[in-house]
């Protein structure tokens, strides 16, 4: 009896390992941890669906209760947990990229402006000079979206809901004020920052967000009026011209 259960488990174990190994094989070398977790989670999804359907609807009457219980435990706890962890890790990692910001079209003007070499906005300057090497939006907006504390999660959920239900108004605006700490994380304590008199004089106001960095160093992005050119027909024309930088 036990050897039969054992054989079954060995079979699923080997099948699971083989499928994840096969998936990993197809990727580039130097696979990052996130990709591994993601691959394992995909294997868990496939395996879980197979195990659950086969166990409950096909072989249930033919296997022992013990075998059934183990298979159900595996399919209802272990594999779903793996899938959930994988999906969460994938989401947290992927949403850091500029590409994922661009997935929502309301972000188009911000993304285009960021990557436009003629733009002089604060975000574009950080981009073209490579001051921020990657995940540009995320680096300045760390407290935003699905990252960070509870408040940020709530905001992220609210934005998501507004987006998919289409119940927002353009131009979109920043609720509350931009937290200066996002800038200070990189700039605080650097000689270039510390030597500026305005920064020293306003130190307390800047740290308590009473004065915003962008009041002197803005605009961070195109103004609502300027954003229009990155949308609609005019934008399509711009993008389709021969020397388009986009």
């Amino acid at each position: 009896m036990h050897s039969r259960i054992l054989r079954r488990f060995t079979f699923w174990g080997v099948a699971g390992f083989a499928s994840s190994a096969a998936a990993v094989e197809g990727q580039q070398p130097g696979l990052a941890g996130v990709d591994l977790i993601r691959t394992a989670a995909i294997a868990a999804v496939v395996l879980g669906v197979l195990i659950l359907i086969l166990t409950e609807f096909v072989v249930k009457s033919r296997i022992s209760r013990t075998a059934y219980h183990w298979l159900v435990l595996f399919g209802l706890c272990v594999l779903p947990a793996t899938a959930l962890v994988g999906a969460t890790v994938t989401m947290l990692e992927e949403t850091k990229t500029v590409d994922s910001c661009a997935a929502c079209h309301v972000m188009d003007p911000f993304v285009y402006d960021l990557q436009h070499e003629d733009s002089e906005t604060l975000a574009a300057r950080h981009y073209k000079n490579n001051w921020i090497p990657k995940n540009h939006c995320y680096s300045c907006h760390t407290t935003y979206g699905v990252h960070g504390a509870f408040e940020a999660k709530r905001d992220g959920f609210r934005h998501w809901l507004l987006y998919v239900t289409g119940t927002y108004e353009e131009p979109i605006t920043y609720k509350g004020s931009f937290p200066n700490v996002s800038c200070l994380d990189c700039h605080d304590g650097t000689p270039k920052y510390d030597q500026v008199t305005s920064h020293v004089v306003l130190d307390r106001d800047l740290r308590s967000d009473r004065v915003s960095c962008s009041s002197c160093h803005g605009p961070a992005h195109p103004t609502p009026g300027e954003r229009g050119i990155y949308e609609g027909e005019l934008w399509e024309q711009l993008r389709n011209t021969e020397n388009s930088v986009y």
Binding site: I53, K60, A67, L76, L79, P80, A87, T90
Partner: protein, 73 residues
Amino acid sequence: MGTATEHGKFGVLVRTAVVLAVIGLLCSGVLLVFGAGPWTVGVSMMLGAPILGLAILLYLVVVIRDLRDQGIL
């Protein structure tokens, strides 16, 4: 030792959990395969995750009640 079908007391609950888990697993697979976007996050995290959670919860209820019936808990 009998076969699994003889143990029918919680059969409906387990079957519900299985169906929920299959749906939940398929939903979370969407984000895993297609990457993060407004719709995939919606399907996987807002729909798939709660469904999977419910499946796991149902299963735990069955296990705890089963152990109680057997006088272990």
